[in-house]
Amino acid sequence: MSITRRKFLQILSCSGAAVSLSQVWFPEIVQAITKKAGNLPVFWIQGQNCSGCSVSALNATYPDIAKVITEVISLEFHPTVMAAAGNLALTPLYRGVEKYRGKFVLVVEGSVPTGGEVFCTVGEAKGKAISFERWVKDLGMAAKAIINVGTCSAFGGIPAAQPNPTGAKAVRDIIPGATMINIPGCPPHPDWIVGTIAHVLLFGLPALDEEKRPKVFFDKVIHENCERRSYFEDKKFAKHFSEEGCLLELGCKGPIAHCDVSIRGWNNGVNWCVRSGSPCIGCTEPAFPFDPPAEGLYHRLAEEKIGGIPWARNLSPTKMASLVKGRG
């Protein structure tokens, strides 16, 4: 049994408002994925990465990662898990890129250094080192779509933080014209990764915001659905770690962080950043990691960046509907 595109999109766009998406995800996506989408390959390449995005993807729950790589995608290249090494790994990559030119999905993890090839080489061909920048350009232009997994490939991330010693850049700065989706997060939630890849392969591009993030996951800011929101409204602020209260004074970036983990939770919903007593560090934002001297991860947000989000219960139904549809 398969699911219509329309129903699938409806489920995705409505579910974020109140229900943890993974609970809505599982039965529908498993029904939709009766057969891999035509064996189209996914090539996952890594640059200036820490592999946290890959480790996060391994934490996918519904569907779990084994199902993903046998029933959803054909993971033809991934340095962390693949059996082959060296030339044996590179040959099928290049052959696959040619065979599926214009039809494969390229996943990029890690930023791209532009200050010198020597900062990131990813393999050797005919005795010559291959620079990651070269790969991103060549493979990127041959792909159907590029999915940038993680804040580093999406926006530059920590490697690009000042003074950016290696000239690290986001993929969009390397190949601005390519079709791409950004799934930021440090790391991104596995639901975002698996859900977006499945969507691209089955239905094409999801609706994206101005930073090219899928609206279904990145439409709201943490502050809108934070369980400590009433403390904020009552102006009860934690001054030290482990205290009750809103974490604004400890540097919480919730008011500006486009992210749905305040609803979704982390690691199969056992906890999430603010619930565990840590301020949100805004890891899905282009500004991450909020460079000094004006900012910092624990530096309180400037007043003008806070508030302005009407408390949901005061909203008219029309206003609520427009919020659910997505930011303008």
């Binding site: 064996n39 290249f77 962390t80 693949m82 082959a84 490697p159 290696t166 906890n271 565990s276 890891c283």
Partner: protein, 519 residues
Amino acid sequence: MHKTVIDPVTRIEGHLKIEIEVDKGKIVNAKCFGEMFRGWEIILKGRNPLDAQMITQRICGVCPASHAQASALNLDSAFRVTPPDNGRLIRNLILGSNYIQSHILHFYHLAALDYVDITAILKYKGKDPNLNRIKAWAKEELESKRPGALAPFLPRYEGDYIADTEINIAAISHYLKALEMRRKAHEMLALFGGKMPHEMGVVPGGVTEKPTVDKIASYLYRLKEIQEFIDNIYIPDVIAVAKAYPQYFKIGRGVENLLAYGVFEEDSDGTKKLLSSGVYFKGRKEITPLDETKIAEYVKYSRYSSASGRHPSQGETTPQTEKEGAYSWLKAPRYEGQVMEVGPLARMVVTHMSSKNEKVSSLISKTLKDLNISQSSLFSVMGRHAARALECKVVADRCAEWVNALDPSKPVHTPYEIPAEGNGMGLTEASRGALGHWIVIKDRRIENYQCVVPTTWNASPRDDKNQPGPIEQALIGTPIKDINNPIEAVRVVRSFDPCIACAVHIMEGGKEIKSFKVV
């Protein structure tokens, strides 16, 4: 003489290239190159010291908890704050949960494909629906004859994979089960750490999360399942693979010097640890107490213009791209001028020989007996895998005791003031080995931040005395049957569980690539 390059080395963390020269069927020369750099120390300079434990975690997504721990200990010492017992215990639980995750991930998802023949699934005749689904997938893939069939499990080097179908199919089933187990280890961690990878809860002065009764129960529930997996599946699998490849107790010996900083604080002043600190020098019968002032970094073959032989806290390095004789961006950390291996093998041997932990000692004795080998055989490919598995059990079993020692009515955090000036040091152990962070604070900002990380020790270049690092020493002498399928070489490298993103964070600024030559 044949030369071959393996680039990229896969199923490790990060970007690594190996170059080996083989003569008369044995490796006579080996070179290791780390191929990626970001510059964390440069990025940390000028930031709020508090940012350190968030930023340093991003050095590595496989072992971020280790960096959080090292950073927290570092800042504790600089801020002169001591966490309360709950804080110390929760930090241990967070770090311990990640050890469990990392070790399981390493054996099954990084190393096992070097030994297990996954095509054996085609011969499966049972009724397990998961295995039958994989079998159907494998069959369809191979029948399609398309180039990427059965990716990412094929292609692979030709080699002496396990022949026994039963063992292979059990291993495949366990590979799948292990995916679930490591995911649950991260869930356990997130109960206290907020999320994983890159947990949120470890801060100077303690942790942010309170240990409620339901969290304790939820943690234990998952841990019990994982303990059963470790005892009944993971350790027996390692023993089974070791018995199938007894020659790998003689391959990959390495330098036979071991270094451990000690890890998992068992009391508030940090002197008592679950796994001890100490140094094992080859051939000696006692463990030498650790003296961290004896750590120095050498740069004769590294592209820096600074003085060689400096202690990490005195670092000031100017990168020098054109330096005669230099071939590596990585410095060569040494202890008292000697090459040191770090990691589970180091921790288990040092703890055992210090007689500091009966459980460790009895586990080692039992395993040596099971395998019918002497302690000296632990310096090997299989020895490292065995040490890692045993350590996983030791840590998991202790986590059950730590979580039961939590007191929901007591604090988890001690408030502090960030000093205007200060120095700090945090020594701990990542899953892969000894990890140190050092900080200098000036005007309430990071003036200098340094990390010396485990894989830098293990994959270090030659030093000023031309002594090669542990991985090259382990590679030399390794038999290679077929230079086009150097499976033996990658088995040696992977036994160290390399993490290159970590290793190229050698502090002392500058541009760094790990690259070293062995003659």
